[in-house]
Assembly symmetry: C2
Homo-oligomer: 454 residues x 2
């Protein structure tokens, strides 16, 4: 029997609703190690009104709804674990407004940062978010994503000025606005940013832009030990250098990058640094950084040309693929803890000892200016013990991170993969999250089974 | 008859509870034009456990609770309009932890920014929030305050990393943590920041610090018209100059400042600028700013010494007192709209025309880098028509601000004074705020009557 919700949805949407199994399978899986869980149907929404009508119908019937962008989330956020409707938002790609004087823009949720930045090119502005994934801005907001430029520009939390959100019953609300700051009531934008589609579906975003800097300089700095690299990071942050990116890669990750890209960079703990600002400032700051790094024993390889600059960041962006290529055919569980920067050497040392003892291959890269790093732990999906082992290592790492005031997830979100850690991380605050969920979505139709159980 | 809640509170707290009328009067008034509304009693809390026990008792008896710091809020946030208990938190002044390497600190809610910055002096760090008021950090967080350095460092929203909060029933929760970013569940810190004590009482804050810059340079730039000044601001923001403060004062405000401080600065639209960073950078940026200002017709008065620098910012901080001194014995209603920066010339011109037509004295100063400005509208409290007139002008200004995507309040909060504008500003989102309030504080004991009515 066809679910009455699907009957009503089909009556409203006709050919915009599809139920082919390949399509459903694709929409029930993200870029993750989590088992796929297909929805019952996929709706290709083109307007906020579509989303509103769909939610009104699903709400009436208590039918689950999962928002879907480019499926790049890696903690199972898009898996339809209770079935229901996956709403594909990738056709909502209108850039609705750009105000160069005010340095802000309003876009539909299916726009990617790449599309927006291409559109902005002639304005001298850009959206300063640089994640590896090809993701929609609605999705990036929903996981409170960040990436390599966060040390300078903050996460999606800082970049979202306002949202259009469809609530579970189909009501459309607007949060925030175009003011650069406001003390007007509860911060509803912040409530939906990072809620992973469990409280509402974001259909439009007003975003804070920034000026394309006059100059950018990058460099690669090779250290004997990870602690020498992180000590340099602490010193650089305290000096207030014009850091735009500050990325750490361990020896194994550098070996993977060399193999993948056919390069021959030193295979040791490495910092990749990006300075942006005025030409004079970045030149001076790069010199200062070089001195700090040298005092911590580094060998220096600053970039001198735009080609070298681009090649360096292309290397960095290959890190995940290079890591996965170390064991072809394997899946990967990417850890995502974020800790106070001073805790990085200790926690990396402790977990790498355990990883070595367990015989797991797990190159490390991360955004160390924020205290966030990823171990890409590879496992053979055909060997259940391997998956168990990497899950145990991840749990150990999260426990260590929480112990020192950190978080289980710096940027990937909770989804299915980190639910088990929420009680330990939040304590009584987790129940408050549950109360908020029940207040906003009393029928529990939005992305059920994610972040926490009710 | 003594309310049973007071009997229970007195049994628990003894001499920490006071009911003297002078004390109650003081705790029922802020630094505002709103009528005082004294609580039934004042509790001098010294620990989170005190606050927790007090809330548990008040919750049981449905007895209202208002959090109180230094009483500097200006929209009636501390008025006990339904009576009840005022919890004075000014004795909670412990600085619990400072981590220079991680550039963060944890403090009790009664600490002021002045106390914290004094404590931090030897670390080379400071908390970059600069409001005129002598206020507690708990209060600053609760109104999502900001001030003059927001254009560079963001509001309390950006500076709060985590909180200890007592919920209405006395439960103590911890939000956020020491990680610089997190995607771990709902952003509960952001829920309490700006909630004006209606959802919980903040008792501890973990705050992001920043390095004291190597150099700072300030200057005063006098323009023929406000639009020339704001055009300079737009251009400076787009250039990405190292602006730390960018303050606008109109001709009347400058006249008030001269009279109050016995100075003789040009009495015309004025920008006061602060650049911070490396010595080379701020020198270069001050030159660039001077060129932009000169192209917009300004006369320049850059500061050359630390004494001149300090004198300039002392002048700026005298603005409110100088404004009030224009009509001794008067009260003032300070507007607080925040709009996209490009809208500033139009909205200021429009409201100043109406102010002039109404014969109201209202000097203007504000944080124009954020689009936020204050008109200090003076009125004689003995002449009811004067108060009516300034309220009408404020309502006109808010309507214009909302029309162009702005907000009724950039930094003062809603309290009692801006409740009337919430429906127009938030539309359906206001009902969502009400649902959140009911989920967190179902008995409605926390700061009842503020922000919105249920």
């Amino acid at each position: 029997m066809i679910h009455p919700a699907l009957v009503a949805l089909t009556a409203r949407f006709g050919a915009q609703i599809e139920t082919g199994s390949a399509l459903r399978d694709q929409h029930g899986a993200g870029d993750s190690w989590h088992a796929a869980a297909p929805p019952d149907a996929v709706l290709f929404a083109t307007t906020t009104a579509d989303v509103s009508d769909a939610l009104a119908i699903c709400h009436e019937h208590g039918f689950p709804v999962v928002a879907f962008g480019h499926g790049s989330s890696i903690e199972g956020q898009t898996q339809a674990v209770h079935g229901g409707l996956s709403i594909d938002l990738t056709a909502m790609t209108a850039i609705l407004r750009v105000s160069p004087e005010d340095m802000d823009a309003t876009v539909e949720c299916g726009v990617t940062r790449q599309q927006l930045n291409e559109h902005l090119r002639d304005t001298g502005l850009f959206l300063p978010i640089d994640v590896g994934a090809h993701a929609t801005l609605g999705g990036l907001a929903s996981t409170r994503a960040s990436g390599t430029m966060t040390v300078r520009h903050g996460t999606m939390r800082a970049l979202v000025m306002g949202l259009t959100v469809v609530l579970p019953d189909g009501e459309v609300i607007h949060t925030g606005g175009r003011a650069r700051k406001s003390s007007s009531g509860y911060d509803l934008s912040a409530l939906f940013v990072g809620a992973e589609g469990t409280l509402g579906i974001i259909t439009e975003l007003t975003l804070r832009l920034t000026g394309i800097p006059e100059a950018a300089r990058a460099g690669m700095y090779s250290f004997a030990r990870i602690s020498d690299a992180t000590q340099t990071v602490v010193e650089a942050l305290q000096c207030g250098l014009s850091l735009n990116r500050i990325e750490l890669l361990d020896a194994l990750q550098m070996r993977a990058i060399n193999a993948y890209n056919k390069t021959d960079h030193p295979e040791t703990a490495t910092l990749m640094i990006d300075m942006t600002g005025s030409a004079a400032q970045v030149a001076a700051d790069q010199d200062t950084f070089g001195q700090l790094a040298a005092e911590n024993g580094a060998t220096l390889a600053p970039c001198h040309t735009t080609e070298e600059y681009n090649a360096l960041w292309a290397l960095r962006h290959s890190a995940l693929y290079a890591a996965r290529a170390l064991r072809p055919g394997c899946k990967s569980l990417s850890t995502d803890v974020c800790v106070p920067v001073s805790e990085l050497p200790g926690i990396i040392d402790a977990i790498q000892s355990e990883i070595a003892a367990a015989g797991v291959v797990a190159p490390l890269h991360g955004h160390v200016g924020d205290g966030n790093f990823h171990l890409v732990m590879l496992f053979d999906p055909e060997v259940p013990e391997e998956q168990t082992r990497v899950k145990q290592l991840n749990a150990r790492l999260v426990a260590m991170a929480l112990e020192c005031g950190g978080t289980a997830t710096g940027e990937h979100g909770v989804g299915l993969g980190k639910k088990a850690f929420m009680e330990a991380e939040h304590g009584g605050a987790l129940n408050l999250m549950r109360r908020l969920k029940q207040a906003v979505d009393p029928k529990g139709i939005l992305n059920p089974g994610k972040i926490f159980d009710l």
